[in-house]
Amino acid sequence: MKTPRDILFARHQTIAPKLDTIRHGVVNVEFVREGRRVAVPKYRVAGTATLPLLIWRELILPCRRIWTGLAAVWILIFAVNLLQRDPSEFMARKVSSPTPEMISAFRQQQRLLAELIGQNEMRTAEPRKTFLPRPHTELGDRILTT
């Protein structure tokens, strides 16, 4: 006759080596982490790691998903920004420098415009005729004289 405890423990005796590994691992890692033992990671012991390699290993590689995500976000922002740009502004940049003919035509047009504006200004510059009502007596005299 066996107790339930005997049966349960007998069923799982084979797991003991794995549990030993876990136990050793936890004790070692936890006390290394808390600085109670001095442990140097393997890649530092090698001493051959250059600065870019160290940056890659310690900064990029452990957070590669975050970096990839950030890169994707930046690409997306850049693409959206590019799509939302005014096409006329973009085309204007493409226009080459004006030719002498174009410059002379432009100047001619400018001159014409200046003339037109000048005439207009003369017209508008004329003083406005103000209506001054005269007395009826004066009007009556004029009728009589004519």
Partner: protein, 183 residues
């Protein structure tokens, strides 16, 4: 065979002082009972090993939260129990834990050895144990594996002592009935 009454002689204070050797002794003492408990709840070897590992790590990091050194065992099982619950919640299976059974009027605590099983009944015993609802199985396993008291089981599982007592009663009754039927 593991002697459960050695609990008070464990180097818990040395572990508190940060001695790795003390932790090694404590973990060696509890690794198999913890694994048995977790495995019989989750029925997956890798998950059970993960839970044991996480429990050990949490114990080292949070030993300051242990008030009474003599309660180290139940405290450790409490961490493991919580880890199991966290995993069940992740798998959205917490409804299993909601099963409740009516309270049983005061019943004296029995020894885990009052249930003796013959060799030909072992497979049947394990099968019936695994068929028990999870809360009953959890209580019974803690009783079998470490002979925890009702109060200790209540602390570990987060249930009140009355509920633990009734779960124990119904679980044992089911198993005993099964064993008597097979005689």
């Amino acid at each position: 065979m593991l002697v459960v009454t050695e609990r008070e002689q464990l180097p818990v204070q040395q572990a508190r002082d940060g001695k790795p050797e003390a932790w090694n002794i404590l973990f060696q003492r509890y690794q198999l009972p913890l694994y048995v408990y977790v495995f019989e709840l989750v029925h997956q070897e890798q998950t059970s090993l993960d839970v044991v590992q996480e429990t050990f790590i949490a114990a080292v990091r949070h030993i300051g939260g242990l008030r009474d050194n003599t309660k180290f065992g139940s405290w450790l099982f409490g961490i493991a129990h919580q880890k199991c619950i966290q995993r069940w919640r992740k798998q959205a299976r917490e409804e299993i834990l909601l099963e409740e059974i009516p309270d049983v009027p005061g019943e004296s605590e029995n020894s885990p050895d009052d249930l003796l099983i013959r060799q030909e009944q072992e497979a049947e015993f394990m099968q019936r144990l695994n068929q028990l609802p999870l809360p009953q199985r959890s209580v019974l396993l803690l009783h079998f594996v470490e002979d925890f008291s009702i109060e200790e089981i209540a602390t570990i599982t987060g249930a009140n002592p009355g509920t633990v007592k009734s779960r124990m009663h119904y679980a044992k009754r089911t198993l005993k009935k099964m064993l008597e039927e097979k005689k």
